[in-house]
């Protein structure tokens, strides 16, 4: 795991986040959420600083980061694409849409395109089953996506 150098100001902001939650180990998940928003992902060094500030073992923090699918130790793409694989979307063909994205971006689920522009991941359920199949790119939600639309959507970015 290559040692990632975190810019000093970011390290400072990270400690401020921990202090905002008054270094309470019970707030670990809230701290990790804000840390991931700050840096886009949670490399090893970030986890060590959080562990130190919250006075818990680094192994404990790593155990929590690897448990929840929301946290990622790899940088996500500038535009993170998430395909909803909930039942309603699955029944309405989400798998075909996923295949199309994989084919066009030539990456597997969980990977990021070499240029760092797109990353592909599956989501359990966005909760917009009326628009099945649903995909989200960043905050934007696309409904009733068919494999043919994939090209059009990608060209928007």
């Amino acid at each position: 795991m290559a040692k990632v150098k975190i810019p000093v100001n970011k390290v400072q902001e990270l400690r401020v986040i921990c202090k905002k939650f008054n270094n309470d180990p019970g707030e670990l998940i809230n701290v990790l959420h804000e840390a991931q928003n700050l840096l886009g992902y949670l490399p090893a060094e970030v986890q060590e600083i959080v562990a130190e500030e919250l006075n818990v073992s680094v192994a404990h923090v790593y155990g929590v980061v690897t448990f929840y699918s929301f946290f990622s130790m790899l940088p996500k793409g500038k535009h993170p694409i998430s395909i909803c694989m909930g039942t309603a979307c699955y029944v309405r063909g989400a798998e075909k849409v996923l295949e199309e994205f994989k084919r066009r971006l030539d990456i597997k689920v969980g990977e990021t395109t070499p240029d760092g522009k797109f990353s592909l991941s599956c989501l359990r359920c966005v909760g917009a089953c009326g628009l099945a199949p649903v995909i989200t790119i960043g905050e934007r939600v696309y409904g009733r996506v068919s494999p043919e639309d994939v090209k059009k959507i990608l060209d928007e970015y």
């Binding site: 795991m1 090893a44 680094v58 192994a59 790593y62 448990f67």
Partner: protein, 589 residues
Amino acid sequence: MNIIKLIIDDKPVVVEQGTTILEAAKSIGIKIPSLCYMKMDDLNFENKPGGCRVCVIEVEGRRNLAPACKTECTEGMVVKTHTVRVINARRTVVELILSDHPAECLTCAKSGECELQELAQNLGIREIHYTGEQSHYKGDQSPAIIREMDKCIMCRRCETICNEVQTVGVLSAVNRGFESVVAPAFEMDLDHSVCTYCGQCVAVCPTGALTERDYTWKVIEALVDPQKTVVVQTAPAVRAALGEAFGMEPGTLVTGKMVSALKKLGFDYVFDTDFAADLTIMEEGTEFLDRLTRYLDGDKSVKLPILTSCCPAWVKFFEHQFPEMIDIPSTAKSPQQMFGAIAKSYFAKKLNKKREDLVVVSVMPCLAKKYECTREEFAINGDADVNVSITTRELARLIRNANIDFASLDDEDFDQPLGESTGAGVIFGTTGGVIEAAVRTAYELHTGKHLEKVEFEELRGMEGLRKATVDFDGMKLNIGIAHGLGNARKLLEDVRAGKSEFHAIEIMACPGGCIGGGGQPYHHGNVDILKKRQKAIYREDAGKAIRKSHENPFIQELYSEFLGRPLSDLSHELLHTHYFNRKKLSEIE
């Protein structure tokens, strides 16, 4: 506490409220099979996540089967432990565990001692009906511990003991679902982490996931090398447990047979670490008295309390966790390292051989000793003072390889001069032993009076944290004793806060002291084994002619011929060391 009456397998049982079904059944001789459950009250270690589900049994009126280890008995409960539904469930659960487990029993280090293996035999599993993908993890080989996590069954014992009892916090469950496993942060190698190699995780692991590094072959190579003179030293706690590996009752003292076996294996000189223990008492005792008198004379720069430094896991612990306090513990080396230093200087000169021609092997109850002898400050231009450290288990394997019928051996004596030791030396093997040995000598050196009663019962016992006051002819000395790194941390925090009222503190990383070391024959959670070993140690002490370290004639000879006096320049060079500020965070390459 009110009383609960219930029925287990048609037998009435009466238990206190809060007792689990597993314990209630055990109290009437019904042993419900379990796997992840392990409880050692004396060491306040309890692991019952209720995760393996092997101990499920039927409770009347309940929809699904209940885990016996977690379900507390309630009034009028009717329990059945081996209905068809239960047996089918139990077999299926064990088959599932086996389906994600490498079938390498024949070559596995834990074969014969593996609780999963024993369970599969008892249940008569002949076929695994549900096979499929198996989880694989990166292998990890540290100087002391090998991690083969493909064999991990997620019982969480190692995670519990590392975090709750030892408070070192190296291990945690990681990932989720089928890929979950217990591992250090970022699944890094142990020797990059803050692991102290205390080996307690190896001591409790039910399978071959965590085992000790095996150096038996390295010893054999030294033995057959004609140019090398092979010297062996055996730790105090080995003689109180080695017998168990050959079916003897725990707590049987096998000192004589051990020496005889070592001679038969071809060691040139069979010596005793206890000799170096007496030497440690001389050095550490003098250092303590020196600090004490300077402290009493008002020298504020003196740091009290003095902390013992013979346990390498405890040393690595404070180097990582309390780096700002590395100048408080005694600078004396551990008996293993003192023995190595003396053997390769004083004894080598006696044999007029160069230090490189000598191979020093140590037999230890401990895994951390394997790491200790590799520390660079314990070697001179690449030649380590102690070349190889093997555990009690490895010695047992060597003896079996040599087809020696251990039980029928006649007793033999250690060789001289480094084989001679006192009662004080041997009690190093148990918690409270080192400080009792030190007090025996320090009393006489400080007061000049003869110490009539050498036994200090107030320093003995199994409780994690103990306090005692010893009277040095009017001067009251407060002694603190802790075993298990969690307890050590409590004492350390007091010292750091300047609240500690102790003059001297003895700390051992392993619960029970070295008799409970990570390299000892497996106790499978039975604390009585540790207590029997402890009694054996004190029995050996009682049977010794000389009971105080400074009365050991060969120690006196060593000083007169070679070292001069305790804390002399030569003593400092050979027998003392210093410690390093190991960053709390791991160094990730």
